[in-house]
């Protein structure tokens, strides 16, 4: 087998193992991976359409919400799991020589597969609530690619550093919780005050979520946001690869 074939082979084996372990130990299996975003969006839908008078977001709000909440689950799940990428599998990492980036990438991949598997939920809500799908839906794969680049980059930074700084594990969880509100998920970038809006682009998720949403709400598409987010994601991936390479040697000794 060639190097890249071996890489893909090992990556795939570990990804399938992740998914199989997750589903073999729970009775509800697949349902869990969609239940979480469903409950969350149910809560936000109730709070923002039934309790508060809402002037942010688009109609139907549930579709607006899910179009960002599902990819957010992929992002947050990957980053928070990457804090345990080496620690949880320490024995296996110590006994195999597969390229070490696989330990990170398989997390992003398995969470990504769960994300794809949850998309029918979005489709179902779009149909029931009568949301209009437009041609921008062809941008969906582009959004997935940029998000994968960003997520892999961040996970490559977080995973090895947590081995040295255990505190980082909790810090990451805290930052992610902050990020949830700092990212246009329950609102849209356009709803931000004028003073803050220019800075929204520096959250790479803004552009990515705008791309996802444009499939139903073409006015959400903002190429400036997308461009900044693609550029930042690429830079973050480059930094991630660098950090990972620098830390690899020490990580192997430490675990």
């Amino acid at each position: 087998m060639s190097r890249s074939a071996r890489y893909r082979h090992a990556l795939w084996i570990l990804t399938v193992r992740d998914l199989r372990v997750r589903y073999s130990t729970s009775a509800l299996g697949y349902v869990w991976s969609i239940l979480d975003p469903l409950v969350m969006s149910g809560i936000y839908w109730f709070v923002f359409t039934q309790v508060f008078r809402r002037d942010v977001g688009e109609e139907p709000y549930i579709v607006f919400l899910l179009a960002a909440l599902l990819p957010w689950m992929w992002f947050t799940g990957s980053v928070s799991d990457s804090t345990r990428a080496f620690l949880r599998e320490a024995k296996l990492v110590r006994s195999t020589t597969i390229p070490r980036t696989i330990w990170v990438n398989r997390i992003v991949l398995s969470k990504g597969i769960e994300f794809l598997a949850a998309l029918p939920v979005l489709a179902a809500f779009a149909i029931f609530s009568g949301a209009q799908v437009n041609l921008d839906i062809v941008l969906f794969p582009l959004a997935i690619v940029i998000q994968a680049v960003l997520t892999i980059g961040l996970c490559l930074i977080v995973a090895p550093l947590v081995v040295f700084f255990r505190d980082l594990e909790r810090a990451v969880k805290l930052v992610l919780r902050f990020m949830f509100y700092a990212t246009p998920i329950i609102y849209s970038t356009t709803a931000l005050p004028d003073r803050i809006e220019p800075f929204a682009a520096f959250n790479p998720l803004s552009g990515i979520f705008a791309l996802y949403r444009s499939a139903f709400f073409p006015q959400e598409l903002n190429w400036h946001l997308v461009g900044v987010s693609a550029a930042m994601s690429t830079v973050i991936l480059a930094v991630g690869l660098l950090v990972f390479k620098r830390c690899e040697r020490s990580v192997l000794k430490e675990i």
Binding site: A10, L92, R94, S95
Partner: protein, 252 residues
């Protein structure tokens, strides 16, 4: 070296001036600056070199035994050759595939069945699905756990766990085998079976790298010995000479 072409002359393993550094205070304070300062060669306080300036070549088909007291770097050397840790100095060239019998049960997942686990572990060591299909029965027969193929791994006894793990690695078609003291576990009959399998592999022209405290085992498998003491390679000679020297140093 017999007359031959370039491939015959090429060593299976070549270690040149290799060294690895650990910090003594594990989990000690590390600054971000440390990470980005690059590898500097100065030895800082609190650091030590479990192995340093190690050089040797292993020809294909050789059987090497590593000898030394506890904490003299034997296992670290094995891990370096296996590629599961990386050297801070020098180079370690391993030119053929490796079947490492190190932490063999590490890849097994408690919640999955024995069957799933065999496919996972063998796959991670580079076997394709079809190859595993072809050898699955041999693996299970070797481990003597035919009745437990669809039992979750966590329900196996600890002896069975080691048996199945050994069976998987022993089926790998890799030209280099690394053996740490894993075989100290298991009952005597199974240990003997493992040893016969290793002999079989040796007869098939495999290269063996063996770490043990057991003099009898070392003499049984190995032709050449490496004697490690205080992180340095003290003697590289036929196994009998190495063991004699070791005994003279420590048992007198």
């Amino acid at each position: 070296m017999p007359t031959g072409n370039a491939t015959a002359a090429r060593p299976a393993i070549s270690v040149a001036d290799a060294g690895i550094r650990f910090r003594r205070n594990r989990g000690g304070r590390r600054s971000f600056k440390d990470l980005f300062a690059g590898r500097d060669r100065r030895s800082k306080p609190g650091e030590f070199w479990p192995l340093r300036h190690i050089s040797f070549d292993v020809a294909p088909g050789e059987a090497i035994g590593v000898v030394g007291r506890n904490g003299q770097g034997k296992s670290t050397l094995l891990k370096l050759v296996a590629g599961v840790v990386l050297p801070d100095e020098g180079t370690i060239g391993v030119h053929e595939g490796v079947a490492p019998l190190i932490e063999i049960t590490g890849g097994f997942v408690n919640d999955l069945t024995v069957r799933d686990n065999v496919y996972l572990t063998a796959g991670l060591h580079g076997m394709s699905r079809r190859e595993i299909d072809g050898r699955f029965d041999d693996i299970i027969a070797f481990a003597e756990i035919a009745d437990f193929v669809d039992t979750p791994y966590k329900h196996l006894s600890s002896g069975m766990k080691v048996r199945i793990a050994f069976a998987v690695i022993a089926q790998l078609e890799e030209p280099i085998i690394l053996v740490d003291e894993v075989l100290a576990v298991g009952d005597r009959a199974f240990r003997e079976k493992c040893y016969r399998r290793i002999e079989e592999l040796l007869d098939g022209g495999r290269t063996l790298f063996f770490v043990s405290h057991n003099e009898k085992d070392l003499r049984r498998f190995c032709t050449r010995g490496l004697y490690l003491d205080k992180g340095a390679l003290v003697l590289d000679a036929p196994i009998d000479d190495v063991l004699d020297r070791y005994n003279a140093d420590y048992n007198s």
